[in-house]
Symmetry: C2
Subunit: 94 residues, 2 copies
DNA sequence: TTTATATATTTAAATTTTTCGATGTATTCT
DNA sequence: AGAATACATCGAAAAATTTAAATATATAAA
């Protein structure tokens, strides 16, 4: 998968915030890879709407895969996109 | 080299702008790895002070190594930091 | 040593991002 | 159906970032 430059910008921007980095790290630590939205919110000291906004940016950048489960939402790290981003970065090394 | 989370944030933020991404890509394409500041400026349609500001953010994040050569400045991609950033990202995959 | 050149810094305006309260929507529970 | 729960969206204020003009600094050239 090859990312266009606009997508690389979106991904970088999404990762350029301490709360969003924390969300990514929290989700990666989950056993079955998925993490419930409510559980993320429990671990971050921000208003619910703000957390929703942050998660949205990560989903928009395709760094997270979202899934609805009744009235709950759960998220998973999109490994394919992380890999594609890493590939872009490795190119910067020549 | 292991990056702390604040550093990862700085690097991500630095890469989250189209002009700064363009600068990184331009520099990587140089034959001897170094690129003159004036040459960067020639290829970007922004005020000199703005370009200086952008380069500064890349240097602050340690994505670029700066060197002074008389009244000129030249820059090189810091491969070690890019590698460390890539390592952090790979961890996000579990 | 005056002048020109290359880059950095300062200041301030414009834009974008972050944040939260209020409200909306969809789903589950009673 | 009505109440409660989980999450999303809207609107507005606060904070951070981007931008450029003006100015400063340091080096090279004449």
């Amino acid at each position: 998968m090859i990312l266009d430059i606009k997508k690389v910008e979106r991904i970088s921007k999404a990762l350029g915030d301490p709360y969003r980095l924390k969300i990514m790290e929290m989700i990666k630590k989950q056993n079955d890879n998925w993490m419930q939205c409510a559980c993320i919110a429990d671990n971050i000291d921000l208003a619910q709407s703000t957390i929703s906004h942050h998660i949205n940016q990560l989903v928009d950048a395709d760094l997270l895969i979202a899934e609805k489960d009744g009235r709950n939402a759960k998220y998973m790290v999109n490994k394919e996109v992380v890999t594609a981003y890493v590939n872009f970065l490795n190119q910067l090394k020549g």
